[in-house]
């Protein structure tokens, strides 16, 4: 046997457990102890599922002892954002309003899939209320702190999930991304994150925010771990009308080969202007490592970002209309005011936004005729301080919360698959987006893997102090 506290990583741990070199129970006990020690400093978790996790770990150990294979994620501890259903638990989605809802009957479909692959759910994780935010400063459940600097934001809205992975509390986490809620916390916490193509993964059993923008995806500290978890999540499900009927297309098996010989370009204009010097430098490091010499502009990006902003507010306002009418005082005030404003938007603006979306989709798909992958900074800056009201963008001081998604929003608006890779080129890390054509998660992951192998991107465990 080896010491579980010294072993990290999804694939490494799963292999050790499958070979009987580590017991799943000892691993879960170790990580639960780490959660008990560090989470009071970070506030990543909204609940710890200790009994359930230990029981599942004992089942994994029993399978190994019986000579059966528990699966590619055998015994690996993971967490889910608080908007994923967990059986017999109320899905609060970072709110107090949802506490009145009935408990979930079962786990969210993709959480159940990774559990069937052997992974062990240890808890639910903090988020912005109803996923409407980029900083995980939750009025009801407190702020999640960045494990690389506890005075700073972990990003959001999947901040608890990202911070837990960065701090080594879980080996991977499952989050959601509507406008950047996987990509922003990946950037701020310095870890890898995948937002797959819209429609790739079923959202069955998760609490919605914007039906035609919501994506699910994983966080991890290595690209092979990210791809392995993503592969376990894939597959059609009837419970989500947006889920595409596509076969599973595993990304992990060819990850070492698929990143070669690709046509790549940097995104210029908006994607340069909205990033600070650190973000531009990180993107240049990635471009250099990939041998990129070409930049392209996407002139429709400013309008696409505005359209995503409008659709999000209007859809969110509509989704929460009844609670806004009867329980307005129970919302986080910042969320409430944004949702109420969204509910008041004229239909003209929303329809125009959907027409902009169509035009932008055509523009970007045209760019993918000549390129396999596009590169851009993930966030306008690295993690701001908690409570920081403004950031500098393109020489102007702007409000922090509505502007952190400037670079992520236009791209999720048209559903592209994107891997965020962490670059440690300053006091805090910052992310770079690896953007592929629809359904080519394998390409984005292979490029990310190549950057990791070259030592450009990495996600070491943070030891919060």
């Amino acid at each position: 046997m080896i010491m579980v506290e010294d072993v990290h990583g999804v694939c490494v741990l799963a292999e050790a457990i499958r070979r009987g070199r580590i017991s799943a129970v000892s691993l879960i006990e170790d990580r639960l102890e780490r959660v008990r020690r560090l989470d009071p400093l970070l506030n990543c978790f909204t609940s710890i599922l200790e009994d359930r996790a230990l029981a599942a770990a004992a089942e994994v150990d029993a399978m190994v002892a019986a000579g059966r294979d528990p699966g590619p994620l055998a015994g690996v501890p993971f967490g889910v954002k608080d908007n994923y259903d967990v059986g017999r638990r109320v899905t609060t989605a970072g709110s107090i309003i949802n506490r009145a809802r009935p408990a979930a009957q079962a786990d969210a479909v993709i959480a159940a899939r990774v559990a069937r692959a052997g992974a062990i759910l240890i808890g639910t994780q903090n988020m912005d209320e109803f996923a409407y935010g980029f900083t995980t400063e939750n009025a009801h459940y407190g702020a999640t702190r960045n494990p690389r600097d506890r005075d700073r934001s972990a990003g959001g809205s999947s901040g608890g999930s990202a911070a837990a992975v960065a701090a080594g509390l879980t080996e991977f986490s499952l989050g959601t991304d509507t406008n950047g809620s996987i990509r922003v916390p990946s950037s701020f916490c310095g870890i890898f994150g995948l937002k797959p193509t819209f429609g790739r993964l079923p959202r069955t059993g998760t609490f919605p925010f914007v039906h035609d923008l919501d994506h699910l995806g994983p966080f991890a500290r290595s690209v092979i771990d990210l791809a392995t978890v993503y592969d376990a999540m894939q597959g059609f499900d009837h419970g989500d009308v947006a889920c595409a009927e596509r076969p599973k297309e595993p990304a992990a098996p060819g990850i070492a080969e698929n990143g070669e010989g690709l046509r790549a370009a940097l995104l210029s204009d908006w994607f340069e202007d909205m990033a600070d010097a650190q973000g531009r430098a990180a993107t240049a490091m990635v471009a250099s490592a990939l041998g990129i010499r070409q930049s392209i502009a996407l002139p429709g990006t400013r309008r696409a970002r505005a359209a995503a902003f409008v659709v999000t507010a209007a859809s969110g306002g509509n989704l929460h209309r009844e609670a806004l009418r009867t329980q307005a005082g129970d919302f986080d005030p910042a969320t409430r005011d944004r949702l109420l404003a969204g509910a008041l938007l004229p239909a003209d603006a929303v329809l125009q936004a959907q027409r902009v979306r169509q035009l932008y989709r055509e523009e970007v798909l045209t760019a993918f005729r000549n390129h396999d992958v596009l590169i851009a900074p993930a966030t306008p800056c690295s993690a701001p301080k908690l409570g920081q009201a403004t950031i500098m963008v393109d020489g102007a001081e702007v409000a922090t919360r509505p502007n952190i998604g400037l670079l992520t929003q236009p791209l999720s608006f048209i559903g592209l698959p994107i891997v965020t890779v962490p670059i440690h080129n300053g006091p805090m890390p910052i992310g770079v987006l690896i953007i592929a054509a629809p359904w080519r998660e394998d390409v984005a992951l292979a490029v990310a893997h190549r950057l990791e192998q070259a030592g450009i991107a990495s996600a070491p465990i943070a030891e919060p102090c």
């Binding site: 039906h211 309008r303 307005a328 404003a341 938007l345």
Partner: protein, 45 residues
């Protein structure tokens, strides 16, 4: 509006956010989009 009443205490915050949204909506309107451009299909990547 359609049964949605706003507490007067919430009006300043709602007004600020609505102002931001209208600014973004204005970005959508210029230059004009050709009439034959259909709104995007909702569930399509």
């Amino acid at each position: 509006m359609a049964g949605l009443k706003i507490d007067p205490a919430h009006l300043p915050g709602v007004t600020n956010n609505l102002r931001t949204l209208i600014q973004q909506a204005e970005v959508l309107m210029t230059p004009p989009i050709a009439g034959e451009t259909e709104p995007a299909a909702t569930y399509h990547a």
